[in-house]
């Protein structure tokens, strides 16, 4: 059976034009997808049943036992951490937040090690953005800053920017100018019209220089700013100012490097400044297919996009304090529920060590690095393949992922709802 207009649950592009062929409970072919999509749909590497670690060995357990034990671990904890959420659908994320308020837990999503600093910057200065179709139909200048879409968002350029024809640009490749700014000459830099190579840690200064030029202060610019020549800065600024519609996309090159959220703030303020002259928008290149959904769901329920601490009853948020890496580094949490992500692989070593010390439960379809750190893992269906639910694209457009077949695994929603009901039974309404 061929299913059309399938939504890809890999990266924040959330492409929804895949054609997937299914035989029984197996995907046999994928059309229109990138390498990442193909691997995701064709991957056949599921953990087949819940597993529990007993001493130095692993054993299979039933779903009922695994759910009962998860609830017991969470109820027994004084400071549980509920982490992950970006790789599942919104309905499951919603149960997660309600579980968090019920337990007085700390709940955080993968933004914490991704675009968390972008959120902090937006909370300082706002976010002039747009949906991706605005860029596709209008943008004559596109800037990729500290991001390498060819590797991380392989179809971003063909669907939304460089190669995407739109209403006002009928031959995008010729009419649209692409600028890549990075510390290294990435694959994406190779196909840019202009590559700006910055010294590591120099993003803030280069952004500040561009802001100064846009404000008419060319005379202030020294001959080089963080490795970028004055001539190139002037040229880039002229391109930015000459755009009819410009779009900046930025990545972890800004959020993870020195300056963090101040880099992003500077990029947003450059965008705001450019809007005094012409139209510009700026957008973070969100990584996981539904990380933005976790921000949305967390926000409408708790008021905050990530790092929400319910320990005091109310929702409390203070990134740097209530963020997962900090909580783990301080050895503060005494149990952890990981849903749809892999902190064992993607958190610093000291955090992985703490996850191994405390009872960590993982809800995830696959064996990953966190598996080895956990006490218990519950395999679930993969959203977008054998489970469905809401996802939010990197630009905030909500799309419902499809269920291509009914397999043998429960969804994240099924498992979390059972855990929630067990916890509620014990806690009552109190």
């Amino acid at each position: 059976m061929k299913v059309e207009d399938v939504v890809c649950p890999f990266c924040g592009c959330l492409c929804d034009d895949l054609v997937v062929e299914v035989e029984g409970t197996r995907v046999v072919s994928v059309e229109n997808g990138c390498t990442l999509a193909n691997e995701k749909f064709l991957g056949d590497n599921r953990l087949t049943s819940p597993i529990r670690r007993a001493g130095g060995a692993w054993q299979q357990v039933s779903y009922e036992e695994a759910i009962e034990e998860t609830a017991a671990i969470l109820l027994d904890a004084d400071r549980p951490l509920l982490y992950g959420w970006s790789g599942t659908h919104g309905e499951a994320q919603s149960i997660g937040v309600h579980l968090g308020e019920l337990l007085g837990a700390l709940i955080d999503n993968t933004s914490t090690v991704c675009h968390g600093p972008s959120i902090m910057a937006i909370q300082e200065v706002g976010h002039p953005g747009c949906t991706l179709g605005q860029v596709k139909n209008r943008a004559d200048v596109v800037v990729y800053w500290g991001t390498n879409p060819i590797d991380a968002h392989p179809r971003h350029m063909s669907r939304y920017t460089t190669f995407a024809d739109g209403f006002f640009l009928t031959d995008a490749f010729l009419e649209r100018k692409v600028i890549v700014v990075d510390v290294r000459k990435s694959e994406s830099a190779n196909i840019a019209d202009e590559f700006v190579k910055i010294e590591p840690g120099g993003d803030y200064a280069v952004l500040a220089a561009l802001r100064a030029i846009v404000r008419g202060k060319r005379s202030l610019i020294p001959s080089f700013v963080s490795g970028v020549s004055r001539e190139q800065l002037f040229r880039v600024a002229d391109t930015l100012l000459g755009a009819k519609f410009g779009a900046i996309f930025f990545g972890l090159g800004l959020t993870m490097s020195r300056g963090r959220y101040k880099n992003v703030r500077n990029a947003i303020e450059l965008t705001a400044e450019l809007n005094r002259h012409t139209k510009w928008t700026i957008s973070p290149m969100r990584g996981h297919w539904n990380v933005y959904g976790s921000n949305e769901v967390f926000t409408w329920i708790s008021g905050y996009p990530y790092a929400v601490d319910f320990a005091r009853g109310i929702a409390f948020y203070n990134p740097g304090e209530t963020t997962s890496v900090d909580v783990l580094r301080r050895g503060e949490c005494d149990a952890c529920l990981v849903v749809a992500s892999d902190p064992g692989a993607h958190f610093p070593r000291a955090c992985a060590e703490h996850l191994a010390r405390i009872p960590t439960v993982q809800i995830d379809p696959h064996v990953n690095a966190t598996t080895h750190l956990a006490r218990l893992q519950i395999p679930v269906a993969v959203t977008g393949i054998d489970a469905e639910g809401t996802a939010y694209r990197m630009d905030g457009v909500p799309i419902r992922t499809r269920k291509l077949f009914t397999g043998r695994y429960p969804s994240d929603t099924d498992v979390l709802m059972k855990i929630y009901d067990r916890v509620k039974e014990e806690k009552g309404h109190g």
Binding site: F10, T35, L36, E39, K40, N45, L47, I51, R53, W58, Q60, T112, V113, G116, P117, M120, N148, I150, D151, A152, P154, V183, R184, K185, S186, P200, L252, G253, M256, S257, R258, R260, Y261, A307, P319, G320, E321, T323, S324, V325, D326, R329, D342, G344, A345, H346, F347, P348, R349, A350, A352, L355, A356, P365, H366, V367, N368, A369, H372, L373
Partner: protein
């Protein structure tokens, strides 16, 4: 410390991300890219193993040359190998120094370890079911 460790996504890392216990993932996640002149300086050949050490710990990686890096920088895709070296300090931002970790690099004959090995070093118990 003689190099700055930068991390980021690669398409191969992304492709194998749901199969972290396979040799393919291990190969990608433990590959360290280095400027060719730096390799010459240190007498490192393409494919050689090196011991990469930060204040947080040490891990063995395999070196490949990269013209797209500046001297003094090395690149490893994000994942458990790189994170064995990255500290948990976030400077009150929640975000560790994923793109900015000073490391020392020395040639070694030691073998590459698996993801399960790394997690055992963190106190876990390998699952090989």
């Amino acid at each position: 410390m003689s190099f700055i460790l930068n991390t980021g996504r690669t398409i191969r890392q992304g492709s194998y991300v749901e199969r972290k216990n396979t040799p393919a993932y291990r190969e990608e996640a433990s590959t360290l890219y280095m400027h060719e002149v730096d390799m010459l300086d240190r007498e490192i050949e393409s494919g050689d193993h090196v011991r990469v050490e930060s204040t947080q710990g040490a891990v063995v990686m395999r070196v490949l040359p990269a013209a797209w890096l500046s001297r003094g920088e090395v690149f490893v895709c994000l994942g458990p190998y790189a994170n064995h070296l990255v500290g948990a300090e976030t400077h009150c931002t929640g975000m560790p120094d994923f793109k900015d970790t000073p490391v020392n690099i020395t040639p070694t004959d030691a073998p590459l370890v698996s993801v399960a090995d790394l997690m055992e070093q963190c106190g876990g118990v390998r699952y090989e079911g």
